[in-house]
Symmetry: C2
Subunit: 324 residues, 2 copies
């Protein structure tokens, strides 16, 4: 397909349109992903996650500049759990896009949910493939770091950095959303603020308790602040980038990259199965009016969801033995 | 079943065990839910959501006391996206449990994720049914309000209150996680803090923009603060409770309750279908070794997830026509 060549040559308009299609779940995008898939796996995918206001955008922006100095090209996906209220516009994103607009080595896009359950992790995954196939050395995925959907999104990354700030309510609560145990690096941002050293100690204590580390990689905790001293900030970003490189190196050397790739492949396959099995089932139930019928039954309390679901499974699935 | 009678009579030990079984996804729990289902639908289910540190527990606690004064019994489910790191203990919860320990009209439990994707909304849903069948007039579901999974959880509620605090990073970011548009009430907690009136104005402006309100219910915005003046705090909580009652009344009167029940039934059915269709499929692929085979194919880039998923769908699903 011509579009594959255009993506591989890094054509920005084609890539932009492709990502929009992925976001809108246009069926044709799937065919392109199928073709692209063999050309992926080169990029170092970095996940950057943390609570709103933790300073992910600023950090990401500094990382882009830093990677560019290393001669690496960078793609950024800012994942935005959009609501109709805010219209999905990420203001900081537009500013960044302008800042790097002249640089062909940087590609930044935001990705929004369009309501589809589970669809976002899927869209992120496919978009990473596009940026990877487009030739970006580094793909940074930014997202708000709470909730299972964000964990799913982060599972697409090789190296996951969790950005925390001191004093954002109860620290333990903030970091307990399942992101903590998948993080490969911790960044305490706004480290000039009160409570930074307390948070640092808490994190180290939690890391002490997690006795085993795959490959001996103990997640480092970096203290970053970007207000008082811009030079120190850039030094810390440089350190963050080095740690990310180091982590990727270890993944590569110890064949753990393969394990991560396998984990990613698993997530991808599950998402694809949802799309191929579950969604058509729901669609078919909807089209035939059966779904509304079942909802009537439930609302009138004349049946329960489990029994109805089992009935559907019986009608819809071939014997389990056939799948082997 | 004897257990159904014991739940309906409000036996705390049976209910506790039942909820633990739901959490652990014990198969027997499903059979109980099937039997319970016809005895549900009496409780007013209130969702209380907001960022960590927003003060949900304090507010919930005050609501419990207030509802008790109205002679209503209350069940509370504190939903906790646990991580192994923190062990899932909600400290504030234990304190509350002790406070209301003597009161047979209050039942508080925390629910944790045990890693299962999508399993939490499911567990919350089933647990609501148990508290409902147990005879609780009010069921309060508390959860951290960001991410799709939390939206799914909130979809089980009749009346959803979003708790916000001034100055928690970027307000617009904080409230954009899809919870904003499902909220029926907004509570600005810690309203004595800087930025409260700005947040109030921002919310009102956002609500002005959302032109249509189902049934003419425009979500009220309540300002609450619980430090300077305990009496004012209790007045505000009383106002919150009144607004919740009023909202439920409107749902009832205008047959919108039916719509909400239908939306809830839809979510319940989808979750049950996932359990009956998708999970056995994955299990079967796993047991037969086919899953590992496919992961090999993907990691070696000799196939793509979409094609593999379509192949599985072809093998596993009966013709869509059979489902009508």
């Amino acid at each position: 397909m011509e579009i594959i060549d255009r993506i591989k040559s890094g054509d920005v308009r084609t890539v932009s349109r492709m990502i929009r299609n992925i976001e809108d779940r246009v069926e044709a995008a799937k065919a392109v992903i199928k073709e692209i898939y063999p050309h992926t796996g080169r990029a170092h995918v970095i996940g950057l996650t943390g609570a709103p206001g933790a300073g992910k955008s600023t950090l990401s922006d500094a990382l882009i500049t830093n990677y560019r100095k290393q001669g690496k090209t960078v793609g950024v996906l800012a994942v935005d759990p959009t609501s109709p209220f805010t219209g999905g516009a990420i203001l900081g994103d537009r500013v960044r896009m302008q800042k790097h607009a002249e640089d062909r080595g940087v590609f930044i896009r935001s990705l929004a949910t369009r309501g589809a359950l589970g669809g976002l992790a899927d869209a992120v995954d496919d978009s990473i493939h596009v940026l990877d196939a487009m030739g970006k050395d580094i793909v940074i995925v930014e997202t708000v770091g709470t909730g299972q959907s964000e964990v799913d999104i982060m599972n697409n990354a090789h190296s996951i950095a969790l950005v925390l700030t001191p004093g954002m309510g109860d620290e333990v609560q903030t970091i307990k959303a399942g992101v903590m145990e998948i993080a490969d690096l911790f960044v305490i941002n706004k480290a000039d603020q009160k409570g930074a050293s307390k948070l640092y100690r808490e994190l180290q204590r939690a890391l002490d308790m997690a006795t085993t580390y795959q490959s001996g990689w103990r997640p480092p905790v970096l203290l970053v602040e970007n207000i008082a001293d811009p030079d120190t900030f850039l030094d810390r970003v440089d350190e963050l980038r080095e740690k990310l490189d180091e982590h990727y190196g270890i993944l590569r050397d110890q064949a753990i990259l393969g394990e991560r790739e396998r984990r990613k492949a698993r997530v991808q396959l599950m998402n694809a199965l949802q799309g191929a099995v579950f969604e058509p089932l729901v669609q078919s139930l909807n089209d035939s009016g059966k779904l509304e019928e079942m909802l009537d039954t439930l609302v009138q309390k004349q049946g329960d969801p489990y029994s109805l679901a089992e009935e559907i499974a019986g009608r819809y699935l071939k014997g389990a033995g056939d799948t082997g």
